[in-house]
């Protein structure tokens, strides 16, 4: 389908974003890579009055390591982060998850912050940000506030962004020595929405499993390495309150949480013992 009509603002500077917010108020949406938003606009599921295009905003186009975190500005594409040579060392979980994010042709334009802002419960980047306990920096005319991932995601496609705010950057904590990271996902087709996605962060003392695609946002559970794995996984799978949809039943989702969780976690436990 074709979009409804809207005004378009090219924000080449951050100041332009504030001016556009002032002019259009709540009716304006930020457009970065457009790989989620434009599809929704074409379907007319989203009907913004104005789009504020930040894809050419040089002030938001940066990836850097700062204070133990990989910091990604709002205009940075997924391809740019995926192609970082040091990514496997810096944030190994991201390196494992990137190939599952849609397709080469989408990652070339889609932005990291855009996926976080879209907050699809089955998307890989919100899962990684939650699993690593990363942060989202929201900027408004009056300043900045920094939210932990689990404060930022508030529900299905819902976030803590308030009127007049936009995501300036997201911060992924760098790999910790001795920690192990794993990622896996099941989808109907390569690059399709995840039915279940899993991220494991295993430290010397505990295992953290984060699940996407089941609840209305990514959810993490932590337990000591010595825990009875099948029992904790089963409890976690039930607590996620999986729903059935026309493709997949709730019990299959629980099955994936149990079986893939078991496989990934056993793998890291074996690796760190040997």
């Amino acid at each position: 389908m074709k979009p409804c009509s809207f005004d378009y603002v090219r924000a080449d500077r951050v100041q332009d974003i504030f001016e556009a917010f002032e002019h259009y108020g709540q009716e304006a949406r930020i457009l970065a890579g457009g790989q989620s938003l434009m599809a929704m606009i074409n379907y007319r599921l989203a009907r913004p009055k104005a789009l504020i295009d930040i894809s050419r905003c040089a002030e938001l186009d940066y990836v850097q390591v700062r204070d133990g975190r990989l910091v990604v500005g709002a205009a940075v594409t997924q391809a740019k982060v995926q192609q970082r040579e040091a990514l496997a060392r810096e944030v190994p979980l991201l390196q494992l998850a990137f190939p599952y994010i849609s397709h080469f042709q989408i990652r070339s334009r889609g932005t990291v912050c855009g996926s976080i802002a879209h907050a699809d419960p089955s998307a890989e980047l919100p899962l990684c940000l939650t699993a690593l306990r990363g942060e989202v920096v929201l900027r408004s005319k009056s300043g900045r506030r920094t939210l932990a991932a689990d404060e930022f995601f508030t529900g299905m496609l819902m976030t803590a962004i308030e009127e007049g705010e936009f995501i300036e950057e997201v911060r992924f904590p760098l790999a910790v020595d001795g920690c192990r990271y794993r990622f896996d996902e099941v989808a109907m087709r390569r690059g399709d929405f995840a039915i279940v996605s899993l991220a494991v962060v295993a430290s010397a003392s505990e295992i953290a499993l984060t699940i996407g695609g089941v609840a209305d946002r990514p959810v993490t559970r932590r337990w000591p390495r010595s825990a009875d794995l099948p029992a904790v996984l089963a409890a976690f799978a039930w607590d996620l309150q999986a729903q059935s949809d026309p493709h997949v039943s709730a019990s299959y989702r629980r099955h994936l949480v149990r079986s893939l969780g078991q496989r990934l976690i056993t793998e890291v436990l074996d690796e760190t013992v040997s």
């Binding site: 389908m1 074709k2 979009p3 409804c4 009509s5 809207f6 005004d7 378009y8 603002v9 090219r10 924000a11 080449d12 100041q15 332009d16 001016e19 556009a20 002019h23 457009g34 790989q35 434009m38 599809a39 074409n42 379907y43 104005a50 789009l51 295009d53 894809s55 391809a79 190939p99 849609s102 397709h103 080469f104 042709q105 989408i106 070339s108 334009r109 087709r189 390569r190 690059g191």
Partner: protein, 178 residues
């Protein structure tokens, strides 16, 4: 701040296949429609209009992109390549990539082909020696209902082998001083 009002057409200037062109578009016009209906680049095929099928894939500043997920106004000042421009710098009618698609019967109805060629062209520049798994992963961003993809993979493997063969030959010639 440079607003484009929704109810008025705006002049959009861009480079299309190496040529400076311009046309009028209101903000809601998709790049795919702008390329086809305003600039006449009908090699851009429109399938699903929500980014899934890949038929409308073009290159924006050398990077593959769904033209249905981009607005015409966003293309202002950009360099856009469509399938019409593929053989621009090539003395023969078809590029090696296009010829390989023909030789290996990598298309039937051809609807998806223009987009696939634009993806493959960009991908092989970035990754000159992909294996079959990598090629299939890249092709997962396109839907083709005729070929079952096998012949597309074969065509791409032939191009990779040929390009790398030419490179190797030149390297050997340089080394042996001939």
């Amino acid at each position: 701040m440079k607003p484009y009002r929704s109810d008025t057409p705006h002049a959009i200037g861009l480079t299309l296949n190496g040529r400076q062109v311009s046309g009028q578009a209101a903000p809601r016009m998709l790049l795919s429609d702008f390329l086809r209906h305003v600039l006449g680049a009908t090699g851009v095929h429109v399938g699903c209009e929500h980014g899934v099928c890949g038929a409308c894939t073009v290159q924006v500043d050398g990077v593959p992109a769904r033209s249905c997920l981009m607005l015409a106004v966003q293309a202002e000042g950009r360099s856009i390549e469509t399938v019409e421009g593929l053989n621009r710098d090539c003395a023969v009618e078809l590029t090696d990539l296009q010829q390989a698609f023909k030789d290996h019967h990598a298309l039937q109805c051809g609807f998806c082909t223009a987009g696939i060629l634009m993806s493959c062209d960009a991908y092989l520049k970035q990754f000159p020696c992909p294996d079959e798994d990598q090629l299939r992963d890249m092709l997962s961003g396109h839907l083709c209902r005729c070929t079952g993809y096998t012949n597309i993979v074969r065509a791409l493997q032939a191009v990779v082998a040929q390009r790398n063969g030419i490179k190797q030959e030149e390297d050997e010639n340089v080394r042996s001083g001939s």
